[in-house]
Amino acid sequence: MATVRLSFSPAPVHVRTARLVGVAVARRAGVAEELLDEVRLAIGEACTRAVALHRQYGLTDLVLVEMSDGGSYVVRVIDRAPIEAGLGIAALPPDELVNKSLTDEALSVGVGFALLAGFVEDLQVRPVDEGIGTEVRMVWPVAR
């Protein structure tokens, strides 16, 4: 099994780097070409969510992205924010999306969850094994 790990300061500018690395490793692992757009989007959404949580809580800890290739392509995006903030995936209905009371940020979070849930068939959001934080775990098949 091959593993690539990337850690980055919780700043929006680095999310693109994580997407690029995630797609490069996916291609190398043998993820089908037609899935790469979804891989790119899903890694971006998971990292965007982690960066937003770190900024919300004033955390300077690094966001960790771990990509591993062992029978399938597994990407784990790990944040260090309090768990109550990070769990739960809910898609918002369209009428709620245009609800005037919803801020642009709240709206993006709802849409981000909808994209993760919509694009990643094998998706888990769970507390990290040690310490504080959540892990977004995404799995894609590889063709060998």
């Binding site: 500018v13 999310v15 971006g44 959404e45 937003a52 245009v98 993006s108």
Partner: protein, 115 residues
């Protein structure tokens, strides 16, 4: 690819052509430009996503935010998009039911005032 933004006027419509990647880093620039256009009096905005090669939830949030501001002012916002990967994003988030979506700028401007 970096975000590119350019604006032109077509009759009563203001067309904002967006290119490159719209994500958590670049979306604030898109938001600023849309707010500038609205503050300057634009009421019918067409956002042309034809040269966008990446769009995430932050970008979608900015577009919905602009739609809400325009609707509150009696205007509207429509989108031009014919790329399947982007259209899929609108379908999955059900935002295809929120935005008027057109394949070309001509179709968007000829459709009359956006909802």
């Amino acid at each position: 690819m970096e975000l590119s933004l350019s604006t032109r006027t077509l009759g009563e419509h203001t067309v904002l052509e967006v290119g490159g990647e719209v994500d958590v880093y670049t979306a604030p620039r898109l938001r600023e430009r849309l707010i500038e256009l609205i503050d300057a009096g634009a009421t019918q905005i067409v956002v042309d996503l034809g040269r966008v090669d990446f769009l995430d939830s932050t970008g979608l949030g900015v577009l919905v935010g602009a739609l809400k501001r325009l609707r509150a002012a009696g205007g509207g916002l429509s989108l031009v998009c014919d790329k399947e990967p982007l259209l899929k994003i609108f379908r999955i988030t059900a935002l295809d039911q929120v935005f008027p979506l057109f394949a070309t700028v001509d179709a968007a401007t000829q459709a009359g005032p956006a909802a």
